[in-house]
């Protein structure tokens, strides 16, 4: 890691409920600028709920309740207007969800919603975003074909480019490679490493090896509780908690 660690997001006593189900219990942690913060843990351990609380996508669910605070750059997210929060804290979902539009219009969707109409500016944003997501060379001659025609791996990189186009500060990846082949996975991981130079990255993954490969720090969540949080190398070589060790060595989960 380069330079001093500065805090980007600070989570304090965060508890999430969906109806009677507690998805996350008393979570306290800090996420630093320009790191890849990785979260591992079995299904139902609250990983995705955690991500979706950061950009308030959980608010769409009627039964959702939250207590505790999420602070980004010193400001509580409840005090920010929801559109600009979601612009700053963006998410890449497990399945690539291209909108039923052309490649170009998919990337330009976010900027257009934020009021950019100038054709030349949009062209520039689309090219830059696709290059940053390592997709430009593969699609530059067919920007106007439907995005749904791309392969799964390309679609996932399209989704990354679509997010980069709105110039976020934090990029959250929710099991971004669970549906991809090993080569596409390697490309997405490479993209993440590049992106961390300019963005803060939070990666939720079911793939323990992936966390070991790309994570700077790794948190292990189990049944909504933070079991252990440490530098990725340390966590994987000498886990303090037996449950962490069992999970990363494949004894359960």
């Amino acid at each position: 890691m380069v330079g001093a660690k500065t805090t980007k997001i600070s989570i304090h006593e965060l508890t999430l409920h969906f109806g009677n189900i507690v998805a996350l219990k008393n979570l306290n942690l800090d996420i630093y600028n320009n790191e890849i913060f990785t979260i591992i843990g079995p299904a139902n351990s609250g990983k995705s709920s955690f991500l979706q609380s950061l950009n308030r996508l959980n608010d769409l669910k009627a039964t959702y309740r939250k207590s505790g605070t999420i602070v980004i750059d010193g400001k509580d997210i409840e005090g920010l207007d929801i559109e600009s929060l979601r612009k700053r804290v963006s998410i890449v979902f497990a399945l690539p969800f291209p909108l039923p539009l052309s490649i170009f219009d998919n990337i330009a969707y976010g900027p257009r919603m934020h009021g950019i109409k100038n054709k030349a500016t949009l062209n520039e944003i689309v090219e830059k975003s696709l290059q940053e997501a390592y997709l430009w060379d593969e699609v530059k001659d067919r920007l106007h074909i439907p995005a749904m025609n791309l392969s799964g791996g390309q679609q996932q990189r399209l989704c990354i480019a679509r997010i980069l186009a709105v110039e976020p500060e934090v990029i959250m990846f929710d099991e971004p490679t669970s549906g991809l082949d090993p080569i596409s996975t390697a490309r997405v991981e490479e993209t993440m490493r590049e992106l961390k130079e300019r963005y803060t990255i939070i990666l939720v993954t079911n793939n323990v090896a992936q966390a070991a490969r790309v994570g700077d720090r790794t948190a292990f969540l189990l049944m909504g509780e933070l079991i252990e949080l440490n530098d990725t190398k340390r966590l994987f070589t000498s886990a303090a908690d037996k449950r962490t060790d069992d999970y990363i060595t494949g004894k359960f989960g």
Binding site: N55, A62, E83, F93, F97, P100, Y109, V166
Partner: protein, 281 residues
């Protein structure tokens, strides 16, 4: 029973049922066409009725029906689509909203004569529009509202949730999301509802009976507050109320009504096709 036999029997029953539905429709169409085609001529289509409707054309009725249908669509489509958007995208799932949705679905089954009486009470008498194109259009519009709301709701609900989530997660507002990621993909379905409503509005007699239709009015309406003749009512009148109308004039009128609905539907279907072509998933 062996599987093959069972399959054959199932197929035959399904095929027969389809035949039972299609054949009567075909027979009706053929009879109307055969008996009515001889009446069709430019003067029949574009001239005033004369001689107590036993001769001349049916132009005022054609024009009247066109006005009424367009009026109903202009009134009902925006209102229906906007309320469907509210119901699907904004209203919380509560007891009241479920009652409202149920009520709308049930309204589609209310007999058209009831809408006619409603129109008479509200538009003709209470609001003082008199028997007029305005009253008739509004009455027909209210009659087709449930069809349009219900099909628009289904169209909106069939847009994948992921489109909304992606749009919101990119920082679009709720309205931007609806406007750019939901509505464009629901348009073909909304148009289907409009087509159904259109056919119904063109063909109904009861709602216009009290609110607009003139028995015999051989001149063209000049304003929204004029009465007008209309095809379905005219057909009823010449078939049952006035003796001595040649048979081919009666069937010709029915044929014209059918063709009119067909042409209106065709226009909407072409429009829908244009939207569907743009659909990329």
């Amino acid at each position: 029973m062996n599987v093959q036999r069972e399959q054959k029997i199932a197929f035959s029953i399904l095929f027969l049922c389809t035949l039972l539905v299609v054949v009567p429709v075909m027979i009706i169409l053929v009879i109307i066409f055969v008996k009515g085609a001889s009446a069709l001529s430019a003067s029949f289509l574009f001239e005033m009725p004369t001689n107590g409707m036993t001769a001349g054309g049916i132009f005022p009725a054609i024009l009247g029906t066109l006005y009424l249908v367009l009026g109903a669509i202009v009134f009902a489509v925006p209102l229906g689509v906007l309320s469907a958007i509210y119901l699907v995208e904004y209203s919380q799932d509560s007891f009241v909203s479920r009652i409202v949705k149920l009520a709308i679905v049930n309204l589609a089954g209310v007999p058209s004569v009831v809408y006619g009486l409603f129109g008479l009470g509200i538009f003709v008498l209470f609001l003082g529009f008199g028997a007029s194109i305005l009253s008739g259009s509004l009455t027909l519009g209210i009659m087709i509202l449930p069809v349009i709301i219900t099909s628009s709701r289904e169209a909106l609900e069939s847009v994948p949730q992921s489109f909304r989530i992606v749009s919101l997660s990119l920082g679009a507002s709720k309205w931007q999301t609806i406007r750019h990621s939901v509505l464009p993909h629901a348009l073909p379905g909304i148009l289907t509802g409009t087509i159904l409503g259109l056919g119904r509005a063109a063909g109904e007699t009861a709602p216009i009976l009290f609110t607009v239709a003139a028995f015999y009015l051989p001149k063209l309406p000049t304003s929204l507050f004029d009465q007008t003749m209309a095809l379905p009512y005219h057909l009823y009148v010449i078939s049952t109320q006035v003796p001595g109308i040649p048979e081919n004039v009666r069937y010709g009128t029915a044929l014209v009504l059918l063709l009119l609905v067909l042409i209106l539907n065709l226009a909407a279907i072409i429009l829908r096709y244009q939207f569907r072509k743009r659909k990329k998933w």
